[in-house]
Amino acid sequence: MVNDKESQKIVDIIQNFARQSSLFVLAYGTGCGAIEIPPTMTSRYDAERFGIRGAATPRQADVLLITGYLATKSLKRVIRAYEQMQNPKYIIGFGSCTINGGMYWDSYNTINRLDMYIPVDVYINGCMPRPEAVIAGFAKLQKLIQAGKADGWDRYQKNLEFYRGNQKKIIHNWVMPDYNW
């Protein structure tokens, strides 16, 4: 049944619809942008009406939301959390720091471009982005998922060498278990 191309397409549409309308978010809130998450989730902006809700552990989560700057030390934890999530999984980079380093562009312990280390599906610009922008980012992600274009997990799998090389450039003492997706 699933070998048939047409029926696979229909299954994909249904599955993608389910994926886009139920997003469990693991908020990696070490950056200052984490303060924008509570208003996004609570009564003022209420992200839950789009099926967005928090997840407690990476195992249950679909979206890894990285809120703000990432020190080299916390990049290691982000990679670990991302690799523990289960396919398909998406990453939203949140705030200028994840895009180009932001105000920490020349700092010795803050990375500049997040997408060189893990595949980012959607960036939300701003320092810090307001909850409306966050919800707009999620809406963009949902559109990408529905179109089947949010394939960061696939890219990561295929270009693991590239990402590992960049990661190991910063993390010299690599003690993490192997990635098994």
Binding site: Y28, T57, K76, R77, R80, A81, M176, P177
Partner: protein, 608 residues
């Protein structure tokens, strides 16, 4: 004649085994293996026949009754399996001849108790059983003062109580025949009734570790080798149940002394609750299982105490079942101890794929212990509850339910603490136990599985043995349970349903998604992104049920041991005071003589 021969043969074989072990270890092991096979074969093929002889004016009679042969089945099966299990388990120890001598003597003693038809031979075999078990409890040579003396003191209390009862019965009825005593019991005066039955009950309650006479049990179960503890907890303690059943049913229920039966039931329920609570907080596998044994024996006492048909049926069923599942659990504990040398929860973890057969046997036993479908524990629990419900014991059932719910706590603790959780590196070279240790466990697990759906296999024996206790026409069906109000459960439907649904979902989730699933180790956990290094271990083993302890600690403060200790101290103080009389000074003694003479003079003068 053949009855007494089996016991004499066991005793004789025990001595032969002892000699064989002095000669050669392998020869001794062959002797043990032979008797382990021969015992059940002989027991299930011979034709029972009564035998009696006279010695010193006493008539000693032997022969299985339909009631005692029920327990004999348990003793024979469990005895044979534990003997088999012992061969590899004890292989590395010294003084094996002495161990097996006592082992076989306790088996012979138990069979002797079951076939004694008079009190004198019962007492003799009881003492043989007690002494041989005592010698095994102190076999390891450790904690003899603490454990051995405690066991001996409580056994002595039981033995003296029994001896006193026998002397009284002989004086009142002129004979020591057991069935004669039961038949003429109704003619005794009230005081004689109460005194003799209470004395007998005390004797039996000590062996079955009923509160408040349980103090010896946890340490004795822990201190003896695990292969023997399986028999100790599984079969030897059932001798107490055997006697208690006789006393509770033949004396209390059948003669209208219901009050004592009720008291026994309440004692059993309190035993069950408190022992379960203590089991929850143990940090040693053997201790946990020991307290759990005490709790389960409490259930049996409840069933016997209320004395209705269902209650007795439940008690007898649970008595047999407890032999099976506690046998497995102590054997599993022994296997773990054999392979790792550790029995403490803080040192054990993650053995599931190192010892899979042990784990699945223990899982089956735990499910049976907790009373969950589809295994046989549900049947015993169901029968007890229905018995309590139909005899309208409102609060007893709550206590029993509290105890069996709290039992889930220690069940999980046992399985998690030993088999699950994060694996530690120092158990990497642990192997599964030897085959001869696994065979008994697996056989008994299959027994539990079979009884879970077809309890009629045992009900057949139970109903015939209950006719001896005065319950005629006990109805039973192969896999349908019926309570006194006519409500039924169909075990075949229940278990088939459960297993079919389980199998269907198992196939779905395993096959449909098999390519998606990745196996990872227990150290690959969601830990806030922090990778767990090889030397780290996040196994949860300390203060396992701390919140529960905070709830029930007000009750747990009062321990009966404290009372016994203060009692012993008080006696010591008392005699210390009297010791001061002997000052060692001649003048004081002279003064005593003068005072004594003066008193004598005054008393004599007033009397004259």
């Amino acid at each position: 004649m053949s009855n007494i021969i089996i016991i004499l043969a066991i005793f004789g074989w025990a001595i032969l085994t002892y000699i064989a072990f002095r000669l050669n270890k392998t020869l001794g092991n062959i002797f043990v293996g032979l008797i382990a096979v021969a015992l059940p074969v002989y027991y299930f093929t011979y034709v029972p026949e009564d035998y009696s002889f006279q010695v010193m004016g006493l008539t000693l009679q032997f022969g299985f009754t339909s009631f005692s042969s029920l327990f004999a089945i348990l003793v024979v099966i469990l005895g044979a399996l534990t003997l088999l299990y012992s061969i590899p388990y004890m292989n590395k120890k010294d003084r094996l001849g002495w161990f097996y001598l006592n082992f076989l003597f306790s088996i012979g003693g138990m069979l002797g108790i079951l076939m004694s038809k008079d009190f004198v031979s019962l007492f003799i075999f009881w003492e043989i059983m007690t002494w041989s078990s005592y010698l095994i409890v102190i076999f390891s040579g450790k904690k003899v003062n603490k454990v051995g003396v405690k066991y001996m003191v409580y056994s002595a209390i039981g033995a003296y109580a029994m001896l006193m009862a026998i002397v009284l019965i002989n004086k009142w009825s002129g004979t020591t025949n057991i069935s004669h005593f039961f038949e003429t019991f109704a003619d005794y005066s009230n005081g004689a009734k109460i005194l003799s039955s209470l004395l007998l009950l005390t004797a039996f309650a000590v062996k079955s570790a009923l509160m408040p006479l349980h103090v010896w049990a946890p340490n004795a179960y822990t201190n003896s080798p695990m292969s023997y503890t399986s028999l100790f907890s599984g079969a030897l303690s059932k001798m107490g149940i055997y006697g208690m059943a006789l006393v509770a049913i033949m004396l209390y229920t059948n003669t209208g002394m219901k009050f004592f039966g009720e008291a026994l039931a309440w004692l059993g329920a309190i035993t069950a609750v408190l022992a379960t609570f203590w089991a929850v907080f143990q940090t040693d596998i053997r201790k946990l299982l020991a307290y759990s044994s005490i709790g389960q024996l409490g259930y049996i006492a409840v069933g016997l105490g209320i004395g209705t048909e269902l209650g007795v049926m439940a008690a007898l069923f649970l008595a047999l079942l407890h032999g099976l599942f506690k046998g497995i659990l102590f054997m599993a504990a022994g296997a773990i101890e054999y392979r790792t040398g550790k029995t403490d929860f803080s040192e054990l973890r993650g053995l599931i794929w190192k010892m899979p057969v042990t784990f699945f046997s223990a899982l089956v036993a735990i499910i049976a212990l907790a009373g969950m479908p589809p295994l046989s524990g549900l049947i015993s629990k169901w029968l007890i509850y229905e018995a309590l419900l139909s005899s309208e014991h409102y609060f007893l059932i709550i206590l029993i339910f509290l105890s069996s719910t709290a039992a889930f706590l220690y069940c999980f603790h046992f399985l998690y603490g030993v088999f699950l959780g994060q694996r530690e590196d120092d158990i990497e070279d642990v192997k599964e136990a030897p085959a001869l240790m696994l065979v008994p466990m697996v056989l008994m697990s299959f027994g539990l599985l079979a009884l879970g759906t077809f309890p009629g296999l045992i009900f057949k024996h139970i109903s015939s043995s209950m006719s001896y206790l005065g319950f005629n026409d006990v109805t039973w069906e192969m896999s349908v349970l019926t309570n006194e109000w006519g409500n039924k459960i169909y075990l075949t439907h229940l278990n088939t349903m459960f297993m079919v649904v389980f199998a269907v979902f198992f196939v779905i989730i395993t096959l449909v998604a098999r390519k998606k699933t990745r196996r990872v180790g227990t150290k690959d956990i969601a830990n806030a992104g922090e990778p767990i290094l090889a030397e780290d271990n996040y196994h949860f083993s300390q203060d396992f049920y701390k919140p529960f302890w905070r709830v029930i600690s007000p009750v747990m403060k009062y321990r009966i041991e404290t009372f016994y200790n203060s009692f012993a101290n008080g006696i010591g103080e008392f005699f210390q005071f009297f010791r001061r009389v002997y000052t060692g000074n001649g003048q004081t003694y002279a003064l005593y003589v003068v005072i004594f003479l003066t008193i004598l003079f005054i008393v004599g003068a007033t009397l004259i």
